[in-house]
Amino acid sequence: MSMRLVAAELVESREILPGQWLQSYHAPTMAAGARAGQFVHVRTGDWSGLVLRRPFSFNTVDAATGTMTIHFRTIGRGTEWFTRLRPGDSIDMLGPLGRPFEVDPRSRHLLLVAGGLGMAGVRMLADEAIRDGRQVVVLFGASGVREVYPSSLLPDEVEYVVATDDGSLGHHGFVTELVADYEAWADQAFACGPAPMLRALAGLAVGRRARLGVAKLGRKRGGGRPLAIGSPQARRKAFLQVSMEQNMGCAVGACLGCVVMGVGGTPQRVCREGPVFASDEIAWEAGW
């Protein structure tokens, strides 16, 4: 579905964690066309010096009611402006934007890894997977118990495993340390969070086959030919897909502000080729 510019009406707004908000908007065209991993670019109504829109992942969508939710942290004047909206207020929304997560039809077990606000990037995929009858484990990492995403906001069918930096809830340590227990079980993994977390996960994904003793048998058709960066096939084939973040200007691919370095040495636009990439499409050590 091509992107549209629509007026989205606020239905509900609440603070689910300190400084973190969940807002529901009535935007039928967005809710109908969106897939997990995509995002919207939203204009703030505070025009006193704010000149850029704010990108938000589709957190959940409900096609039946024509609503979608966004989950964000207040980090400045722009995001704070959204928290002052009241039900009935309208915002200017551009979307759906970017490329979605690609689930292989044969995948039964999906591992979702989220760091902090990264939950907003993978949350919708949990809904889609459960709807399609797949099993989902969500590994979640945060600094402490006060930052842990409430389990009540996840579907009941999801297995939810938490790690905190200070050990105040769940595993004491990084969320990446939980992956070992699930990498054999998972058919595919999907992650969103801070860059160091994604880099660590990408490193784990590289060594996974060797650790599991998986042999590459035979030659698949088209085997050996590299897939085009950003192609749905490249994402579907990779064990790990990551949702990347970058400062954004236009969000439609026109300004080249939001790139990450691709393995071929060509910068890739997070808004257009991404925000979801196969983890082996990103040049993690490029220093970008």
């Binding site: 309208s90 939001c258 970008w288």
Partner: protein
């Protein structure tokens, strides 16, 4: 994804068409959509009769635009990225992303940062190179009613001339805009834009390389822009674009280090508008060629301000990111403003704020200027 630019068949480049066949910006039948910004503006009544055409290369067979609202280089990609959200066929012209002789990967990230009333960017001219631009985009541009002006950048006079040569005669390329805010590698990294002899030399070299209409984009990062503007006009430029971004930096709040990957960035948006107005005002008084103003246009009032200080057209840049429908909306609003004032064209708005005698200081006290 195909743009909504209205087809005129496999047309010749707009630049060589005489003025009388210039197509006026009428509705192109964009798809109806719910839009908070009122993207579709039906120009009706007296406004529809207002003449918005403008010639940016009057001495060279003309670069006639249907209206004086352009979109700025670097903010509108190659004209296709905004898809159905912007009716490309209603724009006066498109300046495409800065194009270099060879592909460039651009600067490390972060590349953009919001600032009070504006933004900094340090994209670093990421582009696939002139040959790829000609191959990938020009055939599509040739089918559009809207002229596409290719913005070019290089680090040597020879490279500028070579890019221009490769664009000369290409169907779909209506003109060239020189971005001279690049370091001149032959002269120790000094920008072409801050040195009148370098600016004149590069303009002359491109002028010799192509018959395409030629716009040259002035940098505000100079003590006195007037000699540079004079040199560029004398070297054969058809029009000037003023201004490019102002050099600035930002500091990362959490790391307390320069925020942008390349440290330095270009400031754009409403914050730079007064500077842009001042530069257009100064330059208008020392050159006769048309000036296309750019810098912080976010509403009709800004367009009228730039016309008042002598510009004949404006480019919308940063504002597109927040309000993609703005440029098309401005076309309708400008026609309505002219109709309301009882004008048959928008030209009476031009130059009203200039001093009665060019060059004579109009201020009554100390002039605050660089």
């Amino acid at each position: 994804m195909v743009s909504t630019g209205a087809r005129q068949g496999a047309g010749a480049p707009r630049a060589v068409e005489p003025a009388r066949t210039a197509i006026h910006g009428g509705p192109t039948g964009g798809s109806a959509r719910e839009s908070v910004t009122g993207g579709i503006v039906a120009i009706s009544g007296a406004a529809a009769a207002v003449d918005l055409t403008v010639d940016l290369a009057p001495t060279r067979g003309g670069l006639v635009l249907a209206n004086p609202i352009l979109v700025a280089s670097g903010t509108f990609g190659y004209g296709i990225e905004y898809g159905d959200v912007v009716e490309v066929g209603r724009l006066g012209a498109i300046c495409c992303k800065g194009t270099t002789l060879r592909p460039r990967i651009g600067n490390p990230t972060p590349r953009v940062s919001e600032t009070p009333g504006g933004m900094l960017n340090s994209i670093g001219l990421q582009n696939p190179g002139v040959d790829a631009v000609v191959e990938r985009y020009a055939p599509l541009w040739a089918t559009w009613r809207t002229p596409v002006i290719v913005n070019i950048a290089a680090e040597s006079v020879a490279d500028y001339a070579e890019i221009a040569r490769r664009l000369d005669g290409v169907p779909g390329v209506a003109g060239i805009e020189l971005n001279i805010s690049c370091p001149n590698v032959g002269r120790g990294g000094l920008q072409f834009a801050i040195d009148e002899s370098a600016a004149g030399a590069v303009t002359a070299a491109v002028r010799r390389a192509t018959d395409l209409p030629l716009l040259v984009k002035l940098s505000p990062n100079v003590a006195d822009v007037r000699p540079i503007a004079r040199a560029i006009a004398a070297a054969g430029a058809d029009a000037l674009t003023a201004i490019n971004t102002l050099s600035g930096i930002a500091v990362s709040a959490d790391r307390r280090r320069p925020l942008l990957g390349n440290v330095f960035g270009g400031l754009s948006g409403p914050a730079v508008k007064p500077v842009a107005l001042r530069v257009v005002y100064e330059v208008r008084q020392v050159v006769d060629i048309p000036i296309v103003a750019i810098g912080g246009v976010t509403e009709l009032a800004d367009v009228l301000d730039f016309l008042a200080v002598g510009a004949v057209a404006v480019q919308v840049g940063t504002a597109i990111f927040a309000d993609p429908a703005l440029p098309v909306r401005l076309v309708g609003q400008l026609a309505e403003a002219a109709a309301r004032a009882g004008h048959a064209s928008y030209r009476p708005f031009i130059g009203t704020a200039l001093p009665a005698k060019p060059g004579v200081p109009s201020a009554k006290g100390v002039e605050y200027r660089p």
